[in-house]
Amino acid sequence: MLEVNDISVRYDGRDALSGVGLAVREGETVVLLGANGAGKTTLIKAMNGTVPVASGEIVLNGRSLGVLSRREIARSVAVVAQENETRFPVTALEFVLSGRFVYGGPFGWETDEDVSFASQALQECDLAEFETRLMNELSGGERQRVVLARALATNARILLLDEPTANLDLAHQAMMFRLVRKRCDEGSSAVVITHDLNLAAEFADTVVLLKGGRLIASGAASDVLTAENIKEVFGVDVLLDAHPVTGGVRVTSVF
């Protein structure tokens, strides 16, 4: 669905990404891991055309990102960015409905279909009672879930999530990943940035390790999350064992 072919991105005269290649297939959850400044956010921004690529190409559903309009991209790709406060009194429902922009023309009002997608998304994110609440009165974690709900309400087939769990409590971190997983099981795909290696191991089909704008490893969690790779990317020693319930990789830092 989304192919990243050997791209480089330049920021301020230095390479933020160099020679990164990656394919996001239908139904797949891809998790990007790396230290701060490794280029994870830049990669996500490149994937929906927010930052231009200096070389290489990104292909969305068979067409190069460069030839697509904003509307065409937004119909296929929805973004959950790191949260953003607004100084205007916007309700949670209005916020989620703003994600339906590409389905309306000028002067248009949202259709019943728009509203039902929005309410459903709020419900999925455990926010059914929050429709009329104002965004600037919500807690950071609640706002973050509204931001996720907006991305879900678009019905875009590809979700790009930049640290969606940063403000969330334990229960809602799991909820976030379960919702993303569920969408992927229904045929969507997702690219998620997180710093939680265990959540990555649990939910990812593909784990991608980035360091200094380069791709270090990519593949199944059990292949990629090795002590050597983690040492190289994060500079910390870890212990690896099997999760007692799921049997997946479990990562424990050694301080």
């Binding site: 929906n48 927010t50 309009s69 904003r70 509307r71 991209i73 937004a74 119909r75 929805a78 973004v79 960015a81 953003n84 607004t86 100084r87 205007f88 009194p89 916007v90 309700t91 209005e94 916020f95 703003s98 994600g99 922009f101 590409v102 309306g104 000028p106 002067f107 248009g108 009002w109 907006r150 678009t154």
Partner: protein, 313 residues
């Protein structure tokens, strides 16, 4: 929403009727004599209609700029846009004295240049915070003011006095042509801004959000800047710089109907008309037969609200 719209329309009619009756000469609503008719149709009504158009113009410009710049304090007067238009108007006076149409055209150009200047000054790599935008507005405003003051030295004493008055907002020079032009500008401007309202709803949340969810951000910015410059240029060319209308009116409208720009923009047009017609009626009756500049009246209300909005958050 329908209730609010209905209330606004009724209020508009009441204020228009009140403004028509009140003044240095009190007029009855019906059975006017020849002299009274002449006062009403030749002097008072053009002025009232101009006040309505100017009010609507400044209010929609404020609503549009606030959403685009993500800043409830954005306002044509405070950002220096009005002063840009004022400088354009003055240049037209100095360069093409008799050519009336040159004034709104140069006013539009001045407004557009000031808008772009303040936007570029306020924008930094880290984005645009509230204070930076307001400060950029202050810089542009004071710079343009000093240019305007220098230009006034080219004028003779009699013209100078009327100019000083005009700079603070003066509706007493209303002409038929001025009214027609302002009316056309406010209608076109409001339609353009309303057509971008859904995009502005996203811009108001964040420029990145808007971009991510399919808004052609550059195009929307161009349309909103263009429409705001159009309405402010027409308003200032006809009536000088009336301040704070674009701050007060959208704020009150948002308190009533929420933040959806599809409501805020058109309702601001009507509410702005009500507000300036009312303020102008106060300006010409409070110390009758002498007059206050209408801008002095609106600033009296607007400045405290600005402080309140700055402290809130």
């Amino acid at each position: 929403m329908y209730l609010f719209g209905g209330t606004l329309l009724v209020l508009l009619l009441v204020v228009l009727a009140g403004a028509a009756m009140l003044g240095a000469e009190r007029l009855p609503l019906f059975d006017l004599n020849e002299q009274q008719r002449s006062i009403l149709f030749d002097i008072r009504l053009p002025r009232i209609f101009l006040a309505a158009c100017v009010g609507g113009s400044l209010a929609v410009a404020g609503a549009g700029l606030q959403s685009l710049l993500r800043n409830p304090l954005a306002e044509p007067y405070l950002l220096g846009v009005s002063n840009g238009a004022a400088l354009g108007t003055m240049l037209a006076f100095v360069l093409f004295d008799q050519l009336e149409i040159a004034r709104p055209i140069l006013a539009f150009a001045g407004a557009a240049l000031a808008t772009v200047a303040v936007y570029r000054m306020a924008k930094s790599r880290a984005g645009m915070n509230v204070e930076r935008l307001v400060l950029s507005g202050v810089i542009v405003t004071t710079f343009l003011s000093s240019v305007i003051v220098m230009l006034t030295t080219l004028l003779d004493a009699a013209k100078l006095r009327s100019f000083t008055f005009w700079l603070l907002g003066d509706l007493s020079q209303a002409t038929r042509n001025g009214v027609y032009l302002s009316f056309a500008a406010v209608i076109v401007g409001t339609i353009i801004l309303t057509s971008q309202a859904r995009a502005l709803n996203l811009m108001m949340i964040g420029e990145r959000d808007a971009f991510d969810f399919g808004v052609e951000v550059g195009r929307v910015r161009l349309l909103v800047f263009g429409a705001a410059s159009l309405v402010v240029g027409a308003a200032v060319a006809a009536s000088g710089s009336v301040g704070y209308v674009g701050l007060i009116v959208p704020h009150l409208v948002r308190l009533s109907v929420g933040s959806d720009n599809r409501l805020v923009v058109p309702f601001s047009a009507v509410a702005g008309a009500i507000f300036v017609v009312f303020a102008d009626t106060v300006a010409r009756t409070a110390i009758a037969p002498r007059e206050l500049p209408v801008g002095a009246v609106t600033a009296l209300v607007g400045a405290p609200l600005f402080i309140y909005l700055l402290r809130k958050r």
